[in-house]
Symmetry: C2
Subunit: 517 residues, 2 copies
Amino acid sequence: MTEDIYEKIMTLAKRRGFIYPSFEIYGGIAGFYDYGPLGAQLKQNIENLWRRFYLLNDTCVEISTPTITVSEVLKASGHVEEFTDLTVDCKACKRAFKAEDLLTDDTLSVEEALKEKKLKCPTCGKAFTEAYPTNLMFSTSIGAGEGRKAFLRPETAQGVFTNFHFLYRYNRERLPFGVIQVGRGYRNEISPRQGTLRQREFSMAEAEIFFDPKYKTHHLFDLVKKTKIHLFDNEKEFTISLDDAVKKQVINNQALAYYMYLTHEFLLAAGVDQKKFRFRKHASDELAHYATECWDAELYSERFGWIECVGIADRSAYDLQAHITASGTDMYAIRKFDEPKVVEQKKIVPKMDVLGPLFKGNAGKIKTLLETMAVTDSLKKLTVVLDGKTVEIPKNCYDIILVKETVSGEKFVPHVIEPSYGIDRVLYFVLEHNFVETTKKDEEYRMLQLKPAVAPVKVGVFPLVNNEELSSLGKQIDADLRDAEIISYYDACAGIIAISAVPITPQPVVSLWHGGK
Amino acid sequence: MTEDIYEKIMTLAKRRGFIYPSFEIYGGIAGFYDYGPLGAQLKQNIENLWRRFYLLNDTCVEISTPTITVSEVLKASGHVEEFTDLTVDCKACKRAFKAEDLLTDDTLSVEEALKEKKLKCPTCGKAFTEAYPTNLMFSTSIGAGEGRKAFLRPETAQGVFTNFHFLYRYNRERLPFGVIQVGRGYRNEISPRQGTLRQREFSMAEAEIFFDPKYKTHHLFDLVKKTKIHLFDNEKEFTISLDDAVKKQVINNQALAYYMYLTHEFLLAAGVDQKKFRFRKHASDELAHYATECWDAELYSERFGWIECVGIADRSAYDLQAHITASGTDMYAIRKFDEPKVVEQKKIVPKMDVLGPLFKGNAGKIKTLLETMAVTDSLKKLTVVLDGKTVEIPKNCYDIILVKETVSGEKFVPHVIEPSYGIDRVLYFVLEHNFVETTKKDEEYRMLQLKPAVAPVKVGVFPLVNNEELSSLGKQIDADLRDAEIISYYDACAGIIAISAVPITPQPVVSLWHGGK
């Protein structure tokens, strides 16, 4: 037996219609997979189980935004600049590689390996001398001719952030509240490895929970704080209660800890093996450009080792602030005072008669930016960011006046805690952690013992005997189950097939619908 | 009151979080829409109701394939050539228009209007002299550097067709069987009009039902054949039973008629007004390149008139044949004989020792194509299609021999009946057909009376009185409902809001969750 677990699972997954490479009839291409009848249903069940946790239990709301995203959004969010991988080109072999994939020495960075000529072409062996960043977004263009530059979204999150002011009003201007999105994300990998774990088009489930930064708490934390979770801080693994983790500042805040708890519960409910589960903290040099703290839910694969399946990040005010700056939209929240206060403060009063002729189409945006700007004593010159460029606003464009105002609250930019799930990865681990091999009467069986909540088919109906009365009764049971919205599987030939299973399928899979405990 | 119904609905839709233009904070762009919390839920409910009809009731299976599609698939399917709109460019105004949108005289074709100089720029009034076809697919590239050419799928159907051989085996090589896909589709409109009805990125629900062309029937047809449907043949409207429509050949076959019935039932269940519903037959000059017959389910809008929301097409063997020809994959089905037959037939025997050196990488594909080719007496020269080009195969590459074979069945290319739903359009009509205006105590109310099956929120929980005991009870009821997977809406302030509704929202919407009958 030379197949490893990944190969066994992919053989089963293809034969049984779970998952297999796309476009095979045209030669295929790495990083794209089709979900067959059982796989698509399993994926949908995992997504709907996830919704139970976030939409129903955590009372988030769900939105749905386009996958095509105009470039302005992703420029503001930092993805145009930062969503890159270092790439090396072998001119001899005419192939590009992700530099990190070619590191053979764990202690070296890409830069160091290049300097020491230890980063080599896996085909011809030539050492590379330079690497350059490649943006990982798929790009396209909207409209006829040159059109408007756009990308396929690298995450669903930006669709939520650009809607924040609507959603805040929808929630009657109260914090915290959560917004989820489930859908496709895209990442144009340079040379994807790791099979179904590294897809170029994948399914994500993301929640963006907006908090007042002064209160990063969760109203249900007290109920769950004694739950123990298994952590890895990149040095040692240890088990700790949520409460202790927050008190000892292993986890920065209650809100982050609560969503780690929810992630833990969801993954176990989906059928992940608790013994192959840990949370790993991102080291400061691996944090994404938007994150101040991030914990990965890692699952253990016999083939791939520990793999990130969920990232729970504190994105702080990063994204909302970026969109406020780039678009000039008022995306602040208000922290109401108990009593209205009379305050004396400096305010900028833009002069539209000067701004207008000087900045034309941008004048309105500049006006909004100036009016919401805090005036500190240290302010020497006024700058705003327009289309990614810092622009100084001349002194004759505004007055600074001292006003006495009755204010009922103060503006602030909410913080975001984001649990982000890679659904395809979760699905793969549900398969690997529930894959069972056994022998019965000297025949080898390979089985999936899936939890009923995620199993693609809930009930099998087999008359077994070729008999008109029984098969008509069987069909009626199948139809009744379907009427009750239970997906059943009727097969009049199942009995006959089972007998002849050995020659047709060397390792027959039984009880695909056999639920776990 | 100058707002028309579309404006009223879009005002309500934006304020209440149903649907509104995307990327507004960056100036927006035509053809992209965000679904807010109520809209996303409504859309999901419509999709899940649709699954009740196709997945549960009609026992189709569901698959899920990538939106990014390699160009080979769409070249074979004809979309690279045929999925186009005639475009005109105004060089003075530097704008492109869809030629059809500028036709002012219904009796003229685009070509005729151009000749008669009656096709004019809507901005500067200059008459256009020529129009050219523009492909409507969004294009992108996979991988680093130049990469591999790909498109965003214009329909989910091709993901099903390229999987046919898997799916046929999955269904134990029996016909008919159906495969559905629900997901995003893309169409890079030149200059989209009609608001949410013409989106560049949209949600589709498509079913591909594979039939033996000799038996385009449905096993449930007898149960429903007396149902009357309302048809429009482009000349007159009339009501007819499904049975009569098939007998009189108004509708070509039982299978097509059955899926028209299912479409009718689904749309009524979703809340469409039966009085604003008809099926319109495509005239022969408007059929898509793949269709032999097509009926549109059209819904009537007070703003837009009759609009296609579903197309039920007979795609015949078009797509499977195209992929067999282009990829050389065996995507045939087998019609088993009652008894095995001994037949004498001519067969092509490829000579790999000649084909190999001559055609190199393509030799294997040519071998498969030749072996499955029917040899008729009229055959003069042998040609195959390689990468879209017809290539002649020299005589020395093969022998034609006469063989006596015992065959258990005959190969054929299955036919496809395809009901294809535009989910965003269905959703818009659910809003328009259930929009109610009324007056109560001199106050104007605008309401949506949605069917419970699709309503985004099923239950509202409002304590109404500001009282600790009542609000804690209310919260418990809300939590219990959510535990039972019923989406509820809890609002402690609802009573107070209701009282102050007039100044906040000039036309308050009540009973969003008020179900129809």
